[in-house]
């Protein structure tokens, strides 16, 4: 099986009274297993010519669900600072807004679609899913 790692680095010199720096690395494995995730969509890049409403970027029907350790990555690759991407789970369950340059990396149970809504034309996005082929 594949070996995939996800590293998060958070740092700030001034958000608290002292330097803050944190690094976390996860090896992406199947649920309750030391076997690596074995599926990957690749990173999809899109530029939407028109504003989008509840556009599905991750369809739950494609994935096994619940006892899984899928991961979803999404990034707003637009420029400027105002054209956000609203990320929701199916049923208008709002996760939050990605402003230009922002990214997210979440666990995904495979039970609900992941959808995006944009407010402007020519908003750019990239996304990908790391997943397991069978439920553990």
């Amino acid at each position: 099986m594949a070996t995939t790692t996800a590293t998060l680095i958070l740092s700030s010199a001034d958000v608290t009274g002292h330097n803050f720096s944190m690094t976390q690395t996860a090896t992406l494995t199947k649920a309750a297993s030391s076997t690596g995730l074995d599926e990957f969509t690749g990173i999809t890049s899109r530029k939407y010519p028109a504003a989008q409403t509840d556009t599905v970027v991750v369809a739950d029907s494609i994935y096994v669900d619940t006892t899984v350790a899928h991961k979803v990555y999404i990034r707003n690759t637009s420029t400027g600072n105002s054209d956000y991407i609203l990320v929701e789970l199916e049923g208008d369950v709002i996760i939050g807004r990605l402003y230009p340059g922002d990214w997210m990396f979440i666990p995904y149970a495979g039970t609900l679609d992941v959808q995006v809504t944009t407010i402007a034309t020519n908003v750019s996005i990239e996304y990908g899913v790391f997943s397991q082929s069978t439920v553990s």
């Binding site: 594949a2 070996t3 995939t4 790692t5 996800a6 590293t7 998060l8 680095i9 958070l10 740092s11 700030s12 010199a13 001034d14 958000v15 608290t16 803050f20 944190m22 976390q24 996860a26 090896t27 494995t29 649920a31 309750a32 297993s33 030391s34 690596g36 995730l37 074995d38 990957f40 690749g42 006892t67 899984v68 350790a69 899928h70 991961k71 990555y73 990034r75 600072n81 956000y84 990320v87 789970l89 049923g91 369950v93 709002i94 996760i95 939050g96 807004r97 990605l98 402003y99 922002d102 990214w103 997210m104 990396f105 979440i106 666990p107 995904y108 149970a109 039970t111 609900l112 790391f130």
Partner: protein
């Protein structure tokens, strides 16, 4: 205002036919501005003596909402491979996904729904934190 950066590195030599090496850095700004987020909870570390159900870790009432650019970090710091943290959104506890030991997540938060977790076993360690803006843009 503060300057906070968040970097993700995704790497794999063998998940596809070509090596994956993605690195992206975001400067965490207030919604639709170039001004940095100005609030941080710090990183909270909790060891739950018993398994938890719908344990609230981020309360929407504590944050301004909607036109915001808050960010949430959660990590399952348990050891082994089986004890998972379930991340849920809102009063209906809509399932986002499971964090297995060592897994972390980082995502935008619009301040309208609580974030709860379930833990699958006793003595699980979880860490979490919120970067947020003091007023909606």
């Amino acid at each position: 205002m503060a300057t906070i950066t968040a970097t993700i590195n995704l790497t794999s030599p063998d998940i596809t036919g070509d090596p994956l090496n993605l690195s992206k850095t975001s400067v965490l700004n207030k919604a639709a501005t170039a001004t940095g987020l100005d609030q941080f909870t710090g990183i909270t570390t909790v060891v739950y003596a018993a398994a938890k159900t719908a344990e609230n870790i981020v309360a929407a009432a504590a944050y301004v909402d909607t036109t915001v650019s808050h960010k949430v970090y959660i990590k399952n710091s348990a050891t082994g491979s089986s004890d998972f943290v379930t991340v849920e959104l809102g009063g209906s506890n809509v399932l986002m996904g499971r964090l297995y030991p060592g897994d972390w997540c980082f995502f935008p938060y619009d301040g309208t729904l609580d974030i709860d977790i379930d833990t699958s076993a006793a003595n699980m360690k979880v860490e979490y934190g919120v970067f947020s803006q003091s007023t909606a843009s």
